[in-house]
């Protein structure tokens, strides 16, 4: 610790150069932390999704509306245990910058499809009794400080049958999940929403389907799609795991590219940091020689230079990953992911450890050559400018 002022002084010698190098390392490790966090998040989502749920969507376009009458036909397919239609109201809560999605569904069917979705029996009963009732994920409830019985006003983006865009929902229950962070959806009664909306009436953007045997998910999916093969509203059915895999693979491919870019950035950074430390040592040749003159050993001077590289590299990397750990949950906490039942993503501990190892390697590779140069520095030659 007593040598810290010396190391700090060396880093402050050219503050602009040190800061620019820091920013480069921070940016690289911010990217590293964010992307690795997303990768781990995706893997976690995949591990927790089930093949026993089917998603029935329009073959034309995911999210395109289908007639609600499809629900009855889907329910009649052998192996199907429950069908929950989804039709969402999109709006803002309290302020325009606060988007929110409320999903209209058949809550009893939803609870049959998703066995992991836990709602106390009295609250599920209250949902049946209360037309404008909503059941809220515990994470969202905690985020807004909502309590049972609270009224949630929503300013919708589409006009209702009464000519207004305002909705008022009463909280009748809360649900939790095995992964509580992901309990972010807001469920309302399908009928209540369906009666009030002017567009998309009697329609659903997708059906969430429970089946009795996950091993038969492919066959049941095919049977469902076959039911609507000659209909103007053809369907595309897959199990939830396959659906997410297909969707996330696209992100995965992007990640592959971005990981390549991050790798290239880190590789370039190696040269940048090496150059910064090497240049700093070259400029301080006389100063390092003075330290040796005053009694610092060759090894001592070498460690001082290496410590500079370690502090610069690892300190900046820590800032970059810390920034990623703040930004990633914030970026992924929007309504798009939460309405999918996926909570915000976090930078996991493994990524911190990986970042520490990468930063250590970066610092060592860039710091060792100038440190050795400092170690070999001849006092007499350095002081005489040779």
């Amino acid at each position: 610790m007593k040598y810290l002022p010396l190391i700090w002084a060396a880093l402050r010698r050219k503050p602009a150069r040190t800061l620019l190098t820091c920013f480069s390392i921070i940016t690289a490790f911010f990217l590293f932390g964010t992307l690795q966090g997303i990768n781990v998040g995706i893997a976690k989502i995949m591990a927790l999704t089930s093949a026993s749920h089917l998603m029935v969507m329009s073959r034309v376009n995911a999210g395109a509306p289908m007639p609600i009458a499809h629900a009855v036909q889907i329910r009649s397919v052998p192996g199907v245990t429950a069908v929950a239609p989804f039709n969402a109201v999109i709006g803002t809560y309290q302020q325009p910058s606060n988007p929110m999605i409320v999903i209209g569904t058949d809550m009893d069917a939803m609870l049959k499809v998703s066995a992991d979705l836990i709602v106390p029996a009295d609250q599920a009963a209250a949902m049946r009794r209360t037309r404008n009732g909503i059941i809220v994920g515990v994470t969202t409830a905690k985020q807004y400080g909502w309590k049972l019985g609270d009224r949630v006003p929503l300013h919708g983006i589409a006009t209702k049958t009464d000519g207004t865009t305002d909705w008022a929902f009463d909280i009748v229950g809360f649900y939790t999940l095995q992964q509580p962070d992901w309990a972010t959806r807001i469920f309302a009664n399908y009928d209540f929403i369906n009666e009030a909306i002017t567009t998309g009436k009697n329609q659903a953007t997708f059906f969430y389907v429970g089946i009795n045997d996950p091993a038969k998910s492919a066959a049941i999916s095919q049977m469902i799609d076959d039911r609507f093969a000659n209909s103007p509203d053809q369907t595309s059915t897959s199990n939830e795991k396959d659906y997410l895999e297909t969707t996330l693979r696209q992100i995965g491919d992007i990640n592959y590219l971005v990981n390549g870019v991050v790798g290239a950035v880190l590789f370039t950074l190696l040269f940048l940091t090496s150059n910064t430390i090497a240049q700093s040592v070259r400029e301080r040749t006389a100063e390092l020689a003075v330290l040796k003159t005053l009694g610092f050993t060759d090894a001592g001077v070498q460690w001082l230079v290496l410590a500079e590289a370690l502090i610069l590299g690892m300190g900046s990397a820590a800032l970059g990953v810390a920034l990623a750990s703040r930004v990633l949950p914030w970026v992924t906490s929007g309504p798009t992911l939460s309405s999918q039942g996926i909570g915000s993503m976090h930078v996991p501990g493994l990524v911190y450890a990986a970042a520490a190892v990468v930063a250590l390697l970066l610092a060592l590779i860039s710091g060792v050559p100038p440190a050795l140069r400092a170690r070999r520095l001849n006092i007499v030659a350095a002081l005489s400018g040779r």
Binding site: R13, V290, G295, V380
Partner: protein, 231 residues
């Protein structure tokens, strides 16, 4: 008086390009404890080489050098570094202070190698800066000090570990007349009042006049040895 420096048959040469140039030829010298030795001579006469050998910055090719009771020609690199920290204080022509450190931090640097606590180091630094008359400039960086003040900081740094020997290479070479006089008077006080043995290389006859003994070097040998009364 005991000899602080004892040099016997020392030969030192350097390689310049493809040529090997012998700078010191079988040199013999003794410096007694408490002496203020001035080394004079034309450029290339071997003054700085001799100073570097005495200060343990370099090793002879042949011969023996004993300084403060230690055979320097026998020490390893790390032993030599530890020996320098204990026994020698260096004062350079261009001060060689660390530019981003304050005066007190510069003076503290040699103490970082000791086991003194932070409080003890701080107290010793304050005493050294008071000795050179720079207590009020402790927090100033070298660029905020005049040449004379920077050299005083360098002297405080050289004294901080209470060395046996002060080695000064042209300590007034970069200073105006008035500052040079102040530095030389300070060195004289250190020599006379604190009994510090000083070896000083200089080109300036007025600086040399402060030495109690003057050695003239020429072509790698001692040409003349004058004992004298300091100015």
């Amino acid at each position: 008086m005991a000899a602080v420096v004892s040099i016997q048959n020392v030969v030192k040469s350097y390689t310049r390009g493809r040529q090997r140039v012998e700078v010191l030829h079988s040199l013999n010298l003794e410096v007694q404890s408490g002496e203020f030795l001035g080394l004079m001579g034309p450029s290339g006469s071997g003054k700085t080489t001799l100073l570097n050998l005495i200060g343990g910055l370099d090793k002879p090719d042949e011969g023996q050098i004993t300084v403060a009771g230690e055979r320097l020609d026998k020490l390893s690199g790390s032993q030599m570094a530890a020996w320098r920290a204990r026994h020698v204080g260096f004062v350079f022509q261009f001060y060689n202070l660390l530019p981003v450190l304050s005066a007190e931090r510069n003076v503290e640097v040699p103490l970082l190698l000791t086991k003194l606590s932070r409080a003890q180091r701080k107290s010793n630094v304050a005493a050294a800066l008071a000795l050179v008359g720079l207590s009020d400039r402790a927090s100033h960086k070298p660029t905020e000090l005049s040449g004379g003040q920077q050299q005083r900081v360098a002297i405080a740094r050289a004294l901080i570990a209470d060395p046996t020997l002060l080695v000064c290479d042209e300590p007034t070479g970069d200073l105006d007349r008035e500052s040079a006089e102040e530095i030389l008077q300070l060195l004289t006080i250190l020599n006379q009042k604190q009994g510090k043995t000083i070896v000083m290389v200089t080109h300036d006859p007025r600086a040399a006049a402060y030495a109690t003994r003057l050695l003239h070097m020429d072509k790698g040998t001692l040409a003349r040895d004058e004992s004298r009364t300091a100015a």
